[in-house]
Symmetry: C2
Amino acid sequence: MSNKDERNSISEVTWDDYMPGISIDCVIFGYHKKELKILVLEYKKSGIFALPGGFLRKNEELKDATERVLFERTGLSDIYLNQFHTFGSLKRADTKPMQSVLKKNQVPFEENHFLLQRFVSVSYYALVDIKRVEPVADELSDSCKWYDTDTLPPLMLDHREIFETALKHLRNNINRNVVGMNLLDESFTMGELQNLHETILSEKLNRTGFHRKMMLSGRLKRLGKKKTGKAHRSPFLYKFLDA
Amino acid sequence: MSNKDERNSISEVTWDDYMPGISIDCVIFGYHKKELKILVLEYKKSGIFALPGGFLRKNEELKDATERVLFERTGLSDIYLNQFHTFGSLKRADTKPMQSVLKKNQVPFEENHFLLQRFVSVSYYALVDIKRVEPVADELSDSCKWYDTDTLPPLMLDHREIFETALKHLRNNINRNVVGMNLLDESFTMGELQNLHETILSEKLNRTGFHRKMMLSGRLKRLGKKKTGKAHRSPFLYKFLDA
DNA sequence: CCAAAAGTGTTTTGGGTACACCCATGA
DNA sequence: TCATGGGTGTACCCAAAACACTTTTGG
């Protein structure tokens, strides 16, 4: 089933069902091969990049709206989600980028088009297993792709700041978050978990200390051994308890 | 100077200058005699209590709007402010309490009155020196008063949850916040500072450990001694460095 | 002199880091 | 047997907690 069918068409929709002035932006983190990535939309042929986002329906819970937006872009439900800040700067009121997007999409619009207003953005970050995600572009975009956070394209409006704030919160919560549970496979080696933490923190961690801390946390269960085919002792596999 | 004059009159205002659907709510903390207090509005004769709040002007920064709201209720600028969460539950859409308030105030209103809509609330907590504050009620209220957080009246909608979330964030940030700098006089004894922390945390702290930790933090400067008139050694006075 | 609160020194504890060493494995 | 990465034991450091003791004050 495609959820495109359920979505409103940008040109024809009545936006009456949506709260004006409020948008939801998502920093969706994934991890692959020692790279921290986020999902970024590129609007059609405009060279304008943005965080995935959406709007709040008038009879919809804010959190439900966020989960809906995430589902539309990733196909996933049950995503780890964290509301971390609401951005209300006036520089968000600049409608030029969105006008440009609408023009490139050949969407006819009036000055008071729903998308051409000042939005206060309630922002969330999400942690997803990159292998379970099938990124889906929205109607105005021709791509929704993973970008390494070290080499992000320039993002529209204050989206760069939103990303950086999200990363700061992710780092602060790295131990509470159980990032491994959301960004790694169900089972993983201690080295893989440490690589993940080091990538998020942009910082080398002490190997034995990390090992001990994780084991003492009581959140890990040791499974069998993993044969790596590499020339060294085979590591144990671990998984996170509960869920 | 009264800022009432600058304010819109609820019955006649054009609300056109305000963003619809977005409200700002403030949990304003004060401290006096071992009691943690917050400012609560009581709507006129309705027995309905609420957190101080306001709305965002269309050409106003979100943070500026919050400072404006705080100034209107407390007369203070330069307030320690922290945005901690945005509340978007559907139970906020219940307009009955506000309808009741408007009726008691004999404000004529239509169903689509600005105040009778669903608001997503961007919430801040503030720390203020209770002695510098002159609480000012708004037009719909007959009081804006300090309430001990242990004996709050029932608050409208989800305001109780907002308060509790604010308190949780305050507790988590108690060391980063330098609460003493904002909630106490400029100079204070170590015992007074410890009492403040214990009140906020609802928890007894180790006296000597607290003393040492504060001294080692390097944020305190020891001033002269204070004569308490009490039958014990006179304590030093301290103040926070920088500002 | 005593009670009460403030200040300080000493000891203990526990988490974190550093380092050493052994283990398993494939080339 | 060597290089490599994984696992664990030991030593050390530092901050927080626990406890003991001294100091100052008014009654």
